[in-house]
C-alpha cells in the first residue's frame, strides 16, 4: 500500500438534489482502491478547458470500502470553478486523477460519545462517521441544519444512524446550540462541519460552556495539501531558471529539470534541503527553520516552502 496518486473512472453521476451531485468512482484499472477512514477526503484533479482545479471532497462511502469511492459535490452558486465542472461536464466513463485519501478530520477513538453538528453540505464527512460508529457500536448523535426540503436527501447514507435530528429555519425548528451542549455526557467529543458562521457559533458556544478545546473539532480542508501560486526560481550557481507549477513543490520542480538538490524527509522536518535565498520572499511551510531564521528570509526548505514574491533567487 504505497502510492501518491490514483487513476479513477467515473462509474455514475446522479443528482440527489437540484444542486447536489452524487459521484461514484472506481479504480481505472479495475483493481482495488486504498481503504480510507471515516472523515477522509480525496483531492480530485479536474481538468477544465482553460485550467485545472484541485478540489478536496469528503469520501462518503462506507469506511474501508475498496471497490468504490463516493463523493457528493454541491454546485457553488455563481461559480465557474471545479464544482461547476463536476455538475456540467463530468460524465460516466471519464477518467480522473486523484490523491490517495487524506484525513484531517478523523473521529477521536477515545471519545465516549460523538456529537456531530452539520450545516448543509457539511454533512458529508459525517456520513462515513455514522457508518464507522454504527459498525463499532460507538455512541453517537447527528444534528443536521439544512432546508426543510432537504431533510430526506441523505437518508440512504444514514440508515444506521442511532440518533438523527434535523433543524431548519422556522420557529420551533431551530437548533439551540447551548441547550444541546448542556445535555452531553462526560467524555463527549463535538464535531462541527458547515458554513463558517455555524462553525464559529458552535466553537464559541462550546468555549462559553467550558468545553476543553481538545474535545471540539472542526473540519478544515486544505492545510495538508501542497501547491499554491506558481512562481519562478532562479538557481544562481547553475544559472538555470525553473517555473514552479501550482501543484508541484519547489524541490520537485528543481528535480524535474534535472538539477540535484539534497533532500531526505521531503516534508520540512529534517533540515537536509535547506537552501540559501539571495533574492525574493519565501513563504515558509516547514517545521525546521526557527522564527529568527524565517524572519531573516535568507533560508528556505524547498521540499515544502514556496514564494510570496513572483521570483526567488536561490543559492543552488
Amino acid at each position: 500500500m504505497i502510492g501518491e496518486t490514483l487513476e479513477l473512472t467515473v462509474v455514475a453521476v446522479d443528482d440527489i438534489a437540484p444542486s447536489l451531485r452524487h459521484v461514484r468512482l472506481a479504480a481505472a484499472d479495475g483493481g482495488q482502491l486504498p481503504p480510507a477512514a471515516a472523515g477522509a477526503n480525496i483531492q480530485l484533479r479536474l481538468q477544465g478547458e482553460a485550467r485545472t482545479w484541485r478540489n478536496a471532497y469528503s469520501l462518503i462511502s462506507q469506511p474501508g470500502r475498496r471497490d468504490e469511492y463516493e463523493i457528493i459535490v454541491r454546485r457553488v452558486p455563481e461559480s465557474r470553478g471545479g464544482s461547476a465542472f463536476v455538475h456540467e461536464v463530468l460524465k460516466p466513463g471519464d477518467r480522473l486523477v486523484a490523491s490517495w485519501p487524506g484525513n484531517l478530520f478523523a473521529p477521536q477513538r477515545t471519545a465516549r460519545h460523538h456529537l456531530m453538528i452539520a450545516g448543509g453540505i457539511g454533512i458529508t464527512p459525517f456520513l462515513s462517521y455514522v457508518a464507522d460508529f454504527a459498525h463499532n457500536g460507538t455512541s453517537h448523535a447527528l444534528h443536521v441544519c439544512c432546508r426543510e426540503s432537504e431533510t430526506g436527501t441523505f437518508a440512504p447514507w444514514l440508515q444506521a444512524c442511532g440518533d438523527l435530528n434535523y433543524y431548519w429555519d422556522a420557529d420551533g425548528h431551530r437548533l439551540d446550540i447551548p441547550a444541546l451542549l448542556a445535555q452531553q455526557p462526560a467524555g463527549t467529543h463535538l464535531y462541527v462541519c458547515g458554513p463558517a458562521a455555524l462553525n464559529d457559533e458552535v466553537i464559541q458556544a462550546a468555549a462559553d460552556a467550558g468545553w476543553p478545546a481538545s474535545h471540539v473539532h472542526c473540519e478544515h480542508f486544505g492545510a495538508a495539501l501542497s501547491g499554491g501560486t506558481p512562481f519562478t526560481a532562479f538557481l544562481s550557481r547553475s544559472g538555470i531558471e525553473v517555473e514552479v507549477g501550482e501543484s508541484e513543490s519547489l524541490l520537485e520542480a528543481i528535480e524535474r529539470i534535472g538539477a540535484t538538490a539534497p533532500c531526505l524527509c521531503r516534508g520540512g522536518a529534517c533540515g537536509v534541503c535547506v537552501t540559501g535565498v539571495l533574492e525574493g520572499e519565501p513563504e515558509h511551510r516547514d517545521h525546521y527553520l526557527g522564527a529568527a531564521e524565517r524572519e531573516g528570509g535568507q533560508l528556505i526548505m524547498p521540499c515544502v516552502s514556496r514564494a510570496r514574491s513572483a521570483r526567488l533567487v536561490l543559492d543552488l
Binding site: M1, N103, A106, R109, N136, S214, C270, G271
Partner: protein, 358 residues
C-alpha cells in the same frame, strides 16, 4: 530473493544466532559518516535503499522462524509485552491487513491471503507456510481468530510493533507488541504521548529533533510510509533486552574483554518505519531489529572502520544512554587494528558485493 530459514537458531541461552554472508551484506548499516549525532533522519520508505534490507515494506529474512519462536517464549513468560488499549480495535485490523497484504505480495512462496471481500465481515484465508499456519477468519470479527488481530499477526512477523493513536496534535502509544526492545518498557510507556515516551533521550530534545519529528508525523499520509534507522549495541545476540528481563542480560556487559568482543558485542540496528493506517487514522510503527556481531560486521571493511570512528567520537551522553560505557573501551580496542585511517566513502552501503572468506 530465496529465503532459507535457520529455525534452530537461539537468541538466549546458548545464543546460536549467526548471520550468513548474504545476511551480512544486506545489513542496514546506520552510519553514513564517521560521526554520529541524533537528527530527524526520516526519509520516504521506498522500495530501494543502500542494501536489500530496505527494499520491501516489511522485510523478512533467514531469521524469521527463530525470531517468531523467541517472541513466543518471551510472551509465555510475560504476556504484558503485548498490550492494546480498547479504542485501538480498528487499528488492530488495519495492522493485520497491511501486514498480510504486504507479506503475501512480497513473499508469495511463504504466505498467501485469499479474500472473499474487503470490508469488515468478509471471509479471509491466511496461509503462513514457514510457521505451518492456515487460518480462516472473518475480517473485523476478533472472535474468529485465536487471539486479537494485532497479537495474531505480529506473532507472525519479525520486529516489534507499536501503534500510535493521533489526537490533540500528538501521538499516543496505545498498543504494542514489544519483545525485542532496546531497554525500554511497554508496560511503563503505554498510553504516553510522543514527548513523554521520548523523555529519557539525551540531547535530542534540546536540538528540537522531537518537536520537528512529531509535526512531520502528524501530517504523515496514507500510502507514503517513511523510515529511519536507530541503533544501539547488545552483548550476545539477544532480542529481549527489556528492563523486565534485565537480570538475564545486564550482567553480561561486564563479561566483555578485548579478546571476546568480536563475537560478543553486537551492533543492533532498528529499521523503523511509520505508516498511516487507513481505517483508524492511527500510525503503525514497526521496529525491525537487525543484530550483527562486530566480527561479522567487520567483514565489510568499510563498516568495521566506520564503526570504530563513530564509537571513538560518540558523545558520552549517548554512550551512557545506550548503555555502552562499560564495554566501549574493549570494543574500541578490538576494532582499532582494523582501522587504517583511510578516508571512507560517505553513505551506508557496503561498497563490495562479496565477502572475503574467513
Amino acid at each position: 530473493m530465496s529465503l532459507v530459514f535457520k529455525p534452530e537458531e537461539t537468541f538466549r541461552g546458548d545464543y546460536t544466532y549467526r548471520n550468513s554472508d548474504a545476511a551480512i551484506l544486506r545489513f542496514p548499516f546506520p552510519f553514513p559518516e564517521d560521526r554520529y549525532m541524533y537528527s530527524v533522519n526520516i526519509e520516504p520508505h521506498v522500495r530501494s535503499g543502500p542494501t536489500d534490507a530496505f527494499c520491501r515494506p516489511f522485510d523478512i529474512d533467514e531469521h524469521y522462524i527463530a525470531e517468531c519462536r523467541d517472541r513466543a517464549l518471551t510472551l509465555e513468560q510475560d504476556p504484558g509485552r503485548c498490550q492494546v488499549l480498547p479504542h485501538m480495535m480498528t487499528a488492530q485490523w488495519d495492522t493485520l491487513e497491511l501486514l498480510m497484504e504486504n507479506m503475501a505480495a512480497d513473499y508469495p512462496e511463504q504466505f498467501s491471503l485469499t479474500k472473499e471481500g474487503d470490508v469488515f465481515g468478509s471471509r479471509w484465508t491466511w496461509i503462513n507456510r514457514p510457521l505451518g499456519i492456515e487460518q480462516q477468519f472473518i475480517f473485523g470479527d476478533p472472535d474468529t481468530l485465536p487471539c486479537e488481530p494485532f497479537e495474531y499477526i505480529t506473532r507472525q512477523a519479525q520486529g516489534d510493533f507499536a501503534i500510535c493513536d493521533q489526537r490533540e496534535d500528538n501521538l499516543y502509544l496505545d498498543a504494542g507488541m514489544i519483545t525485542s526492545q532496546a531497554d525500554w518498557s511497554l508496560e511503563f510507556n503505554v498510553g504516553m504521548n510522543f514527548m513523554e515516551w521520548h523523555g529519557p533521550v539525551p540531547l535530542a530534545h534540546q536540538a528540537g529533533v522531537f518537536e520537528r519529528a512529531l509535526k512531520y508525523l502528524l501530517m504523515l499520509r496514507l500510502g507514503q510510509p517513511v523510515r529511519r534507522l536507530n541503533w544501539t549495541m547488545s552483548i550476545n545476540p539477544r532480542l529481549d533486552t527489556s528492563p523486565e528481563s534485565y537480570p538475564a542480560w545486564g550482567p553480561d556487559r561486564a563479561s566483555v574483554t578485548v579478546e571476546n568482543a568480536g563475537g560478543k558485542v553486537h551492533l543492533r540496528v532498528e529499521l523503523q518505519t511509520l505508516w498511516r493506517l487507513p481505517r483508524s487514522n492511527a500510525i503503525l510503527f514497526p521496529i525491525r531489529c537487525f543484530l550483527i556481531s562486530i566480527e561479522e560486521l567487520a567483514r565489510v571493511p568499510k563498516w568495521g572502520k566506520r564503526l570504530h570512528r563513530v564509537l571513538s567520537s560518540l558523545p558520552p551522553e549517548l554512550a551512557e544512554y545506550k548503555g555502552l560505557t562499560r564495554y566501549l573501551p574493549a570494543t574500541l580496542a578490538w576494532l582499532a587494528p582494523l582501522d587504517d585511517g583511510a578516508e571512507l566513502a560517505t553513505g551506508t552501503g557496503p561498497d563490495i558485493t562479496e565477502l572475503a572468506p574467513v
